[in-house]
């Protein structure tokens, strides 16, 4: 009897410890970013482009990188969704579960999901060389699109699989075609689709390796797809490697902006998935 009690307490304690460890590291990360970044964060930071270059410049802001990140992640999310949604609908709604092609495709997406983003960057870069595209906003969008497609397909898979088969039978028994049924599915999973969009956007906005060779870097806000574009993660990388302490401090301010982006995304997607649970 006593042994069981000790066991129970021991494992409860261990679980509590690991939870605390995760929570503490999260607060340490956010705390460091705020502590080091907040003194450098001002209105100029989010409203101006760098003054005197990103590497040496001690004034001006990061608007080029903020806009660049939004362009790259936004463009990639839109392109990625245009490809991923039809793929998941086809694999999960049109093809039967046992279909060899469907199984092979899903396995491929699982593998793609695990590939490091630097490989996507390198792949997109060689593709750009082949096509004669220079480092540009377009190149960055293509690389990040490749990166987010497996994330989107897997998230959508998960969402579509959890739709009860009653919905399928309800629509089909009314004489719906596959496409009409897919439209009903879409209504059922619309919150899940939004979650997939936000997850992909969050991943795209924070990734550095995919954009390093492909989007390039620029102190100016890109006005066309063929101009190089700065991104926040890459800006942080460059600023941190600067020898000037003030520029390093500005790196933390940039990190703070990026963290706020991610925070907003997480909060919005949590609210959305909450809504979904309520409505179903």
């Amino acid at each position: 009897m006593r042994k069981r009690k000790i066991e129970e307490r021991l494992f409860k304690g261990l679980m509590l410890l690991s939870t605390a460890l995760v929570a503490v590291s999260l607060f340490l990360i956010i705390g460091t970013v705020i502590w080091k970044g907040l003194p450098y964060l001002d209105w100029d930071m989010v409203s101006k482009i760098p003054d005197g270059g990103y590497y040496f410049g001690r004034s001006g802001g990061m608007l080029n990188a903020i806009i660049g990140s939004l362009y790259v992640a936004g463009g990639a999310t839109v392109l990625g969704m245009l490809i991923s949604l039809p793929v998941s609908v086809y694999l999960n709604i049109y093809l039967k579960k046992s279909n060899i092609f469907a199984r092979f495709a899903k396995l491929s997406f699982d593998v793609l999901f695990g590939i490091p983003s630097i490989v996507y960057g390198a792949f997109a870069f060689s593709l750009m060389v082949y096509l004669g595209v220079r480092t540009s906003l377009l190149g960055g969008i293509i690389a990040v699109t490749l990166l987010v497609i497996p994330i989107m397909v897997r998230t959508l898979d998960e969402v579509i699989i959890h739709v009860p088969k009653d919905l399928k039978e309800a629509a089909l028994s009314l004489g719906a075609t596959r496409w009409e049924m897919a439209k009903v599915y879409f209504r059922q999973i619309r919150h899940g689709v939004l979650t997939a969009v936000l997850l992909a956007f969050g991943r795209g906005v924070g990734d550095v390796a995919a954009v390093m060779f492909t989007a390039g870097f620029s102190d100016n806000i890109p006005v066309s797809l063929h101009e190089p574009a700065a991104t926040l993660p890459l800006a942080i990388f460059f600023q941190l490697s600067s020898p000037i302490p003030e520029v390093q401090g500005r790196a933390y301010a940039s990190a703070l902006i990026l963290t706020l982006f991610i925070l907003i995304i997480v909060v919005v997607s949590t609210i959305l998935s909450h809504k979904k649970n309520k409505s179903s």
Binding site: E169, L172, E180, V184
Partner: protein, 253 residues
């Protein structure tokens, strides 16, 4: 049987992988009456029901042979369009599952996909079928509210109205009251009895008392085979086959 058959099943065999789910089914289901399929769980009741509107098509590894004639047309013939077959039959599932849209749109969905676009026409249909299932007065003030806000019993009646709105000839029920409370069950049973004047109804049920209350004919299925088929009183009170006797008395379940 004096009635004209509406559905004729001939030499129907269903396999999934190496399992033989339905064995040599031959039966004529009479027009404008209620036929219940009874039998122990896993005997093939639902498979038999779903073979009637080809909802089996999506099961991996399924093979269907034989024919099912509805109004003389073989629904398993290669050129038959499956949406056209399903339009003739409304399905009332085990648990109600409203489509993710408003009450109004749930009923209007079927007519819409079959080409009715005129708003007045749609409204007439929605009202007619919500009245037919006794739901109109309960929901008329919130037609555009979400269907999932209704109680389970109301949802099941909504699903029935949704099925009726495509104007089928046949209603299929797959243990349609198993998720409902006794009062909602009674409402659905009364509706079924009322609807058989205009529709051919085939139900799957595991409740013998329900089969007795609502059906005119009974099919007893055991291990994928039809053991006995006949008028309700005959099969339940005076079964010819030994297996039916044992099932009705509760020795096998």
């Amino acid at each position: 049987m004096t009635e004209t058959p509406h559905i004729r099943i001939q030499n129907l065999n269903v396999h999934v992988g190496d399992q033989h789910l339905l064995k040599n089914i031959n039966i004529h289901i009479p027009d404008k009456s209620v036929t219940s399929i009874i039998g122990p769980s896993g005997c093939g009741k639902t498979t038999l029901l779903k073979s009637l509107n080809r909802l089996l098509d999506d099961i991996p590894g399924i093979r269907v042979s034989g024919s099912v004639l509805v109004d003389g047309e073989d629904i398993y013939a290669p050129h038959t369009e499956v949406t056209h077959i399903r339009k003739k039959m409304g399905l009332l599932a085990q648990r109600p599952f409203p489509l993710p849209m408003s009450i109004y749109d749930n009923v209007a969905y079927g007519p819409k996909i079959h080409g009715i676009r005129n708003k007045k026409e749609l409204h007439v249909l929605v009202e007619r079928y919500l009245r037919a299932v006794g739901l109109w007065d309960e929901v008329k003030t919130r037609l555009h509210g979400s269907a999932s806000a209704l109680s389970i019993g109301q949802q099941q009646r909504l699903c029935l109205a949704r099925g009726l709105a495509v104007e089928p000839e046949i209603i299929l029920g797959d243990e349609s009251t198993s998720a409902l409370d006794p009062i909602s069950t009674k409402t659905i049973e009364d509706l079924i009895i009322q609807l058989k004047e205009n529709y051919t109804i085939v139900l799957v049920t595991h409740i013998l008392r329900q089969a007795r209350r609502v059906s005119d004919y009974i099919i007893f299925v055991y291990m994928g085979e039809i053991i006995e088929f006949g008028p309700t009183e005959e099969v339940l009170l005076n079964p010819k086959e030994k297996l039916t006797q044992e099932y009705v008395k509760g020795f096998i379940s």
